[in-house]
Symmetry: C2
Subunit: 650 residues, 2 copies
Amino acid sequence: MKKEINQITKEWNRANPDKLHINPEEFNELLTRRFFVIPSFEIYGGVAGLYDYGPPACAIKANILDLWRRHFVNEENMLEVDCSSLTPETVFVASGHVQRFADWMVKDVVTNDCFRADKLVGEFIDTELEENSELTQEKTEEYALVKKKIDDYDGKGLDELIQKYGIKSPTTGNELSASYPFNLMFSTPIGPTGKLKGYLRPETAQGIFVNFKRLLEYNGKQMPFASAQIGQAFRNEISPRSGLLRVREFTLAEIEHFLNPDVDEHPKLDTISSIRVPFFSRENQTQGLNPVDLTIAEAMEKGWLTNKTHAYYIARVKLFMDECGVLPTAIRFRQHLANEMAHYARDCWDCELLTSYGWIEVVGIANRSCFDLENHSKYSKNELVAYESFETPTVEEFVAVEPVKQKIGKILKGDVEPVMTYLNSLTDQERLDLQKQLDETGKISFRVESIDKTIELTKDLIAFPKREKKILGRNYTPGVIEPSFGIGRIIYCLLEHSYWVRPKQEHEKEEDKIQRAVLSLPPAIAPYKVALLPIKADQDQIVKKLQQSLARYGISHRVDAGNQNIGKKYARADDIGIPFAITIDDNSVTAGTVTIRERDSCEQVIVPISDLITVLNDLIDRIKLWEDIKQAYPEQKQTASDKVGKKQVK
Amino acid sequence: MKKEINQITKEWNRANPDKLHINPEEFNELLTRRFFVIPSFEIYGGVAGLYDYGPPACAIKANILDLWRRHFVNEENMLEVDCSSLTPETVFVASGHVQRFADWMVKDVVTNDCFRADKLVGEFIDTELEENSELTQEKTEEYALVKKKIDDYDGKGLDELIQKYGIKSPTTGNELSASYPFNLMFSTPIGPTGKLKGYLRPETAQGIFVNFKRLLEYNGKQMPFASAQIGQAFRNEISPRSGLLRVREFTLAEIEHFLNPDVDEHPKLDTISSIRVPFFSRENQTQGLNPVDLTIAEAMEKGWLTNKTHAYYIARVKLFMDECGVLPTAIRFRQHLANEMAHYARDCWDCELLTSYGWIEVVGIANRSCFDLENHSKYSKNELVAYESFETPTVEEFVAVEPVKQKIGKILKGDVEPVMTYLNSLTDQERLDLQKQLDETGKISFRVESIDKTIELTKDLIAFPKREKKILGRNYTPGVIEPSFGIGRIIYCLLEHSYWVRPKQEHEKEEDKIQRAVLSLPPAIAPYKVALLPIKADQDQIVKKLQQSLARYGISHRVDAGNQNIGKKYARADDIGIPFAITIDDNSVTAGTVTIRERDSCEQVIVPISDLITVLNDLIDRIKLWEDIKQAYPEQKQTASDKVGKKQVK
C-alpha cells in the first residue's frame, strides 16, 4: 500500500515537480480535528506565527528528538549542553546579529501595517507574470531577473523597485514608506533596572560558541569534537505565513562540530562515502539543471563538497531523514547561492523536503568557518582557541639578545629592564645590524625613549647571536561545521509525507472521506505504537492487564473503549498514525489470543497474548517485518468484527 | 557506604536541622570543574540568574525528564502538549498575572540599584537578631513577628518598616525610594508594529488552560483527565541570589488534572493510601511542631488533605522523588500558610528538599480550584466547561407555554414570534397568574413592548399548564489540581544530596581531597551508566567493540582512554556519578573478561564480556542488586591496576 502511494506521489511530482500533491483543506482539517497543531491562544483569536502542539504532535516531537539524540549525539559522543534563551546584547553584537539579522520592512503610510519589502516585490512580479497577458518579452525577462536576484537588493534598491513598479499596500492600496531594516530578534530588558538590553536567541548556536573553552576542557583538550543543543529559538517574523513553516517560536536541534580548519579529514568518512544523495549544486541551479543522485564520494570528486566533515554530515542527515520516514522522492540537498548565505557562512547545503508549499528547508548544514569563535575572542577578550601539537616539531632560526648579566647590571643599574625591553622589541634584522656594529666598532649606541636616554654598550657586555628554537605546536581558532535542524518543520513535512486517503469503496459515501485519512508514519516516529481496541464493554480486566504489560515494556498506547463499531476505531487509530491495532474479542478470554492489525495494509493476524510483547517489540524495532509476522501466525478469518473493519479498507 | 553517608547526614541534620551539611566551596568547585553548571555568557562576565548546563547536567536533566514522563504521563495516560512561551497580554490579564504577579521593589535613590523590599527588611532583622546584643526582649519579639508575617505586608506596610528601622541601601548606605510593585514577567512586543504587547510565560500552565476545550474533545469528552507540559518559563527576578535556586529562566514540568469539583474520588487512591510521607501541615507550623511521618490515609483522616486527587498526587510525587534518589531524611511536604498562597490557589503543599541553603521548594502541588478556567471563560467569551450526566435524571416541574398553533397564527399573524418570545420570558409564577386569569375570565391581556401593542388572547388559543421535565445533566467548570515541578531545582538538590567526599586514607595528602568527591546518583539518573577504562593504549579494538554493543543496547557511556593511572580515571568517573566502571586489561584479550567496579563501595568483580550487557542492564534497571552480582561472579583479586584503584577508597 505504501509502495502504491509512493508511486502515485511520484506521478504527482512528475506532473507538478514544485509541489507535493495533497488536498490542503482535508489535511488541515485532520491536523485541527485530531489536535496535532492549532494556533496558540485560539480562544483569544490566536497570534500569527505561534502554534501549540497537541498530544499526537507532542509525542511525535519527543520521538524525533529521541531518534536525533541516538542518531547524532550518542553515535558521535557529542557534548550536549542546555543554554539560556535570554541573551545579553553584547553576545549578539559579537555574533553580528544586532547589526545584520534583519529584513527590509515597509509600512502602509496610513494604517502602519508592516510588510517585508522583498516579499512585496516578489508577489507583485508573480501576479504580473501570471495575470498580465500584455507583458512584452523584455518586461518578462526583467521581472524574472529581478525575482532571481531579489536577495541582492538592499533597502535603496528595493525602494527603487517599489517606485518603478508602483507597488502599493496589498491590503489597502495606500502608499508605502521607504524601507528600513527591521531586526528579527525579540528584545526584552533583563533585570529590574531596564538597563541591561537582552534578546531572545534566534538560534541556539551562540550558547555553544561562548562555552567553547569549557567544552574543550571537558573533552580533555582533544580536537576535533562536536557539541549539540536542543532548545527554543525565537524570530519576530514581519508577516508570518505558510502556517507551520514560518513561525515566531520554534525548536532547533543544532550541532557545532569544531575542527582544525587546516586539516581536512574525518575518521568515519569511508562508512558513508557510498551513500546516495540527491544533490542540487550551485552549478546545477545556475545552469537550470535538475538535482542529481550521486554518492558522497562522487560529489566530492566533482568538487561540490570541499570539506570531508561537511560531506560526512550531509550523509548522516540523509540517513536520519530516511529513518524519520520522508518520501524518497521528496528530498534534496540544495547548495546556497552566493547571495543567499547567512553573514557567517562560507558554504551551506540545505536539506529540503517537498511539501504542498513547495520545497522547504528543514536542515541547514553550514560551514561557519572560524567566524563565531574569532568574533567572540575579539569581543570578550578571551582567546577561544585550540592547541595543535606538530607531529614533528619545526625548527626556527632567530636572533637572540644575550647580555652578560653580571657585568651589564653593574653598568646600567636601574636601567637594565627598560634597555632589555627595548632590545627585545627589535626585529631580527635590527639585532643583526647591532651585532655587525659590535663586530666592526666594538660598541653600539642607541636611544631608549622610555627613559629618555642614549645608551652605549661594549661588546664584552652583550651579543646578538643566531640561535634555533623548536616549535612544538601552535594555537589556532577552530572552524565549525553546523548542521541545524528545524524540528517543527521536520514534523510538519513528515505529516504531509505520511498523509494519504484510502480509496473509496463502493459501499462508502463520498462524505465519509474524512474517515479514510491515514498517516503512514514509521513505528519509531508514530505518536503511539499500539491502539488497544476492546470490542465489548466487559473486557476491562484483559485491557488493564495488557496496558500494564505494554507500560512495563515502554510501548506507548491509546485505549479506545467507546462502544462505537470497530471500523470507526480503526479509522481513529489510522488518522493519528498508530501502526498496530490490537483487537480484544471473545477469543481473548476463551483462547488467550488477540488480533494485530497493520495500519497500511489492514491485514490482521491472530497472536497468543503470551507472544504479544515480543511480536510488537520486533515490529517496532524493525527486527521483523510485517511479512515475517504474517508467515508466523494465522491470518484473521472473517468474523463479525473483522467484516466491519474490512469495510474500511481495500 | 551509602547507608553510612545517610547516617552521617542524619546526624548533621540533627545538629543543624535547617541546613544540609556540605562544604559549599568544594561542592561548587566540582560543579564548575566538571562543567555541570556555569553562569551563562561566562566569557562576557555572566548575567545574574542565568545558567548553562554542561554535558553531565544536561544528561541528568534528560534522564529526569524521561523518568518524569514514564512516572506521570505514561502511567496516567496524560495528554502532553507543547505550547508557546510568547504569550499576548490578554491571556495574563485573564489569569491575573498582569495585575498580581509582582514583588515590592525599592531603589537606591542615588545609584538606582533595585532591591526587593521584603528581602531587605528580612535581612535587616536577621542581622539585628544575630549581631545586636543589646536588643530588648520586646524588640526581639517584635522582629520575630514582623519576619513571620513578612508576606502579609503591602508596599505601604513595607515602607513604614523601612522608615521605622532606618533601613538604607545595603550596597551604598544611601536612602531608598518608596516601594512600588515590579511585575516579574519579561515583556516583549510581538510582531513588527510594536503594538501587540506580549510576555514570556512565567509558568507553562496557561497554555494548557486555554486549550481545555480541545483537550476535552481529544479525550472523547471524558472527565476527569490530566494534561501535562514540559517547557521553559521566565521570571525577571529583582535580585537573583542562591545560585541555581532562584533563576530567571528555568524548565518546568507541570500537570493540570481537571476534575469535577463536586465529586471527590480517585480510582487509584487505594494503591497509594499506605505510602508514608513526612507532612508539615499548616497546623504543625503555626504551633511550632515538627513535621510528622504519616500515611496518606492518616493525613486524610486528620483532615490535612481534603481532596482525594490532591492526596493521590502528593503520594505520587513522594514516590517520584524516591526514584530520583533524594536523601530520605531531607524531604518534607509543607502546607502553605494562608498568607503565602498564590492568587489562584485554594490549598497548596510544597515538596521541599533540604539543601545547604535550607529547605527549598522543588514541587508545588496546588489546588487551583476553578479559578483559571472561569477567568478564561469570562475574558475569552468561550465557555470552558465539561458536561456531567446525572446517574438518575432529576425531574423538575415548570409552567409551560402551550399555544394552539393553528388558531393563534391566524389571529396574531406576524406578531406570533414576538408574543411567544414575551411569554417565554415570563417566570413560572407570572405564567401561573395568567392561567388563573384565563380560568377565571376566559381571557388574558398583556402588553408586548417590542411591538408596542397590547395583545388579548382567549382560552381556546393558549394555556399555561404545569409540566415536568427530566434534567439529564449539567455543564460545570472543572477544578484543577496542579503538581508543578521545578526541574532545575530538583537537579541541583539531587547533586547536593548525592555528593560526598571519601574519607582520606593514611597515604593520601589533604590537598587530594578534590579527587575523592563522589556523586552517588542512582543509575537511572546518572549522566552516563558506564565508564570504559582501557588500561593500555593498544586495546582500541576491544573498546570499540564494547562501545558498539553498549550503544546498540542504549547504555550511555564515556571512554577515558588517556594514559593516566586507573585511580585517577576512577576518580573522574566517581565525581560525575557514573555508577559502573568497566576496566579493560590483559585478561580481556586472553580470557575475554573485564572487571566491573561499583562506584559507592569500590568493589570489583570479574565478568565475561559475553555476560556484560545482561549484567549491566540488570544493574541499571535494578532487576539485580550489586550484592547479587557479587555472589554470581568472582571478586577481582589484587592486581597492579586494582591496587592503584583501591588507594582511592576505604
